[in-house]
Amino acid sequence: MKKVVLLAVFALATAVTYAGGYRVSLQGQKALAMGHTGVAVVNSAESVFFNPAGLVYLENKLSISAGVSGVFSTVAYQNEALGTYAETDNPVSTPLYFYASYQATDWLALGLGVYTPYGSTVEYEDDWAGSHLVNNIDLQAIFIQPSVSLKVNDKFSVGGGPIYVTGSVNFNRNLTRSLTDLEGNRSEVTIDASGVTNWGWTAGFMFNPTDNLRIGANYRSEIILEAEEGDADFQNVPNSPLTPFVDTQFDASLPMPAELTVGLSYEFCEKWTFAFDYNRAFWDVYESLSIDFANPQVPDSENLRNYKNSSSYRFGLQYDVTEMFTLRAGYYFDETPVRDGYFAPETPRNDSSGYTAGLTVNVGKHFQIDASFLYLHFKEVDASYDYHFDQGVRAPFSGTYKSSAFVPGLGVSYKL
């Protein structure tokens, strides 16, 4: 049985490889180590994120999980015809999570989650070949989610809660491919907005048809971060009425798409658990990155994205080695939401494969250390962004991209 499952996992791994936009799937070390599955898994407070319906099945009165990952990511770009080459120098980003679950009664659990499912930190060298599209971008969003979990009976539960999001974005690009000031410095704009907030919600159910099998579903609503009156800072702009770029405010909106996850987990041979999640992200809400400058003299910036809905397929395996150790491994493929011709270097995400592994060490009765590791591999891809316009004329930006991310993570869990 175990060999069959492993074969199935890795056969799929080689067949298709697939990620999406600025979604960062690092919401729990235990789940991440199992391919970021969890919609039908009950083993820690991480369920606040993956499926709050499962919280009520946790065995402990109080469960707390917290952790951090270190994302070491690099994007490489080249264009053979022009000899251009660029590699991002992304700072290490450290997405965090904190989850707590409290078993109020036999049929009611309360939870709280703080996590960061969206983010993007991409930093190219200033004035690189695609600097008219992006020099650097730093997008952050913190989700705060109180939850309730209700046990309808031993086989069925529901859960959910509101989500409060606070986010920020900082984005810098050159104004055009060639505009400079008198000293030859490229004209650029930085837009910055922080403290942007909005509300959303999540809901799910869990169904346990047998002792070994769980089935789960969870939906997280779309949340659109509407940046209003952010600061737009123009630099190195020639002193001319023909280049009317003066510092102003801007409005822009950035969608965090809705996602639906369904999946199952199956315990077998006493010590093994297999989990599968299918995730659908409704990226079609992201039609364009439109920046509306307050000063009417400053032309608005319209950057078509035209994302499509995308799926990811996640597989995880857990093995309880001893009372002290639990090992996990997993794999997922993540389909890109980016259509052909819309491959913008600020989120250079093509289809990706995530290879995951990890373990939990029980230190005493109440305390666990969770470690995980993710290697995200993107196939080398020839891609272009065809919707940049230079004085009204289409000027595609194309090349070959290859990116990878190496993500070690560490967490702790506490049970009472």
């Binding site: 492993l6 053979e80 015809a81 000899g83 251009t84 060639s178 008198l182 009425p241 592994a357 289409r394």
Partner: protein
């Protein structure tokens, strides 16, 4: 358990090994691009303003950074190219100082007036480039703005003491290794492994841009007797050009020779239309009355006396009409009848005005600088002294059909020499004349636009109407790369010309 551990270890190994993304064929790895049979390790470019990176009527740092040799050298780096040094100016203003006194204007920038009108203006500021305190070479870029073919081999062309008298060039004086050095010797002493030579433009261009006020020296093989706006004798050109190629090619693996473009391709000659004078019917009639005696009595009399031919008389007729009109001009290729008219009793002023007078025609090219003169009053107190209507446009503002044919005859001879020497020495040959004609006739498409020679807006030419913009130089560099790749079996990549700037916008 064992399986799981193996899987974990395997996954970890994959992660650590391929942490950094690597392309299957990385362009920045040695061997991706090939220099073919050429060796680009020490590239030296020799020439005039076009090699120096001159633009907007000045030499300044950002222009030099976008000079065609600097762009080429950047691409040569993909296949063994070494450092490329240039005698950078001190600033981005472009003016020159000689012993503290300014002797060259600052650059031109495109300025927008209060009424929205756009015009090139001199960028304000105090230039800081002092000729007598120049940088020390050697420099890979030996482009000397203003140099003619024979200047490159002329000792003393870099002697600062000869600048004001016109025997020396301030740009060369700034960097010459000694006051008696020659440009070509200074360049050749660097033992270039690869070279570019683009010279000869000024041998016709200064004649053309000055509206043909100089002399066609064809037949005179002593360049020391030439004036600054003369056309160089083609034999002189052939002789010095061949010496120059020999000096540069001595130890080189190869080189590229570039020919002379057609002056009628550049906006300096194509921007101001020949029919530049708008008149209403009443004014046209009044002016025609003024010239009635000239047309109907003076010219037939001169023909009758055998002084001019009927053909010349026809060419000299002045006739305005309602709408756009050709201006009247002084053409020094016409018979000068001033003294004859004085002898006939005409007042000397009128006689001088009519001495070599004719109306322009479609064969004439009005130069860019005439736009600030045409239609203005020669005498501020006399509203009847409109230049082009009542007062002839001076010779320097018009390149007549006859003058153009002198230019094209000489440049055809130079170009034959250049192409012959290139093929005799197995050097890459760039037909800049054809490349520029393509820009002028319909334009050249690139990713994101079309490069044309329209003044200020076409993208190819800077605000002086003669020299390219950075984008124009980038296009030139690409044309050269094509020729070099073909000649030497190399695979040097080209540049994206849309990434290079055009004219500079600035209000003082």
């Amino acid at each position: 358990m064992k399986n799981t551990i193996n899987i974990c270890l395997g996954l970890l190994a994959i992660g650590f090994v391929s942490c950094e993304p690597e392309f299957e064929n990385p362009v920045n790895e040695e061997g991706f691009y090939d220099s073919g049979s050429a060796n680009f390790s020490n590239f030296v470019a020799v020439g005039n303003s076009l090699t120096a990176g001159f633009a907007d009527n000045a030499l300044y740092i950002t222009g030099q950074q976008n000079s065609y040799p600097n762009i080429l050298a950047g691409q040569f780096e993909f296949a063994g190219g070494g450092d490329f040094t240039q005698p950078l100016m001190n600033d981005n203003l472009g003016g020159l100082l000689l012993n503290g006194t300014q002797i060259a204007d600052n650059r031109l920038v495109l300025s927008v007036g209060a009424d929205g009108e756009r015009a090139p203006v001199l960028l304000e500021g105090n230039p800081t480039t002092e000729i007598t305190n120049g940088p020390t070479g050697p420099f890979n870029n030996m482009g000397i703005p203003g140099a003619k073919s024979f200047h490159l081999v002329a000792p003393g062309y870099g002697n600062a003491g000869g600048i004001l008298s016109g025997t020396a060039n301030p740009y060369y004086a700034r960097i010459a290794t000694s006051s008696n050095a020659t440009v070509i010797a200074d360049a050749a002493s660097q033992s270039p492994s690869f070279f570019a030579l683009w010279i000869g433009n000024n041998d016709i261009l200064s004649y053309a841009t000055s509206g043909g006020v100089g002399v066609d020296q064809t037949g005179n093989v002593d360049p020391t007797t030439y004036g600054p706006n003369d056309i160089t004798d083609p034999n002189v050109f052939a002789s010095v050009y061949s010496q120059e190629v020999d000096a540069l090619a001595a130890g080189a693996s190869g080189g590229v020779l570039i020919n002379i473009p057609d002056v009628t391709s550049i906006p300096y000659f194509t921007t101001v239309p020949a029919q530049a004078i708008p008149l209403d019917a009443a004014t046209a009639g009044a002016v025609n009355t003024q010239f009635a005696q000239y047309n109907n009595q003076v010219l037939p009399t001169l023909v009758g006396a055998g002084i001019i031919t009927q053909e010349e008389a026809d060419a000299r007729m002045v006739n305005f009409s309602a709408g756009q009109n050709f201006p009247i001009l002084t053409d020094d290729d016409l018979t000068d009848v001033t003294q004859i008219l004085i002898a006939q009793g005409l007042p000397p002023e009128t006689a001088a005005l009519l001495g070599q007078l004719r109306q322009a025609n479609n064969n004439d090219l009005i130069v860019l600088t005439a736009s600030s003169v045409l239609g203005t009053q020669a005498d501020p107190n006399n509203p009847l002294s409109i230049i082009g209507v009542a007062v002839p446009l001076q010779d320097q503002f018009v390149l007549t059909g006859v003058e153009q044919s002198r230019v094209s005859t000489a440049s055809a001879a130079y170009n034959a020499t250049i192409q012959g020497i290139a093929s005799a020495n197995d050097l890459a040959f760039v037909d800049a004349r054809a490349a520029l004609r393509q820009v002028a006739q319909g334009g050249v498409a690139y990713n994101g636009g079309v490069l044309t020679s329209a003044f200020a807006t076409g993208g190819a030419f800077s605000l002086d109407g003669v020299h390219p913009t950075p984008r124009g130089y980038a296009y030139t560099a690409n044309v050269m790369i094509d020729a070099i790749n073909a000649q030497y079996n190399a695979t040097i990549p080209k540049v994206e010309i849309g990434n290079y700037a055009t004219i500079t916008l600035a209000n003082n």
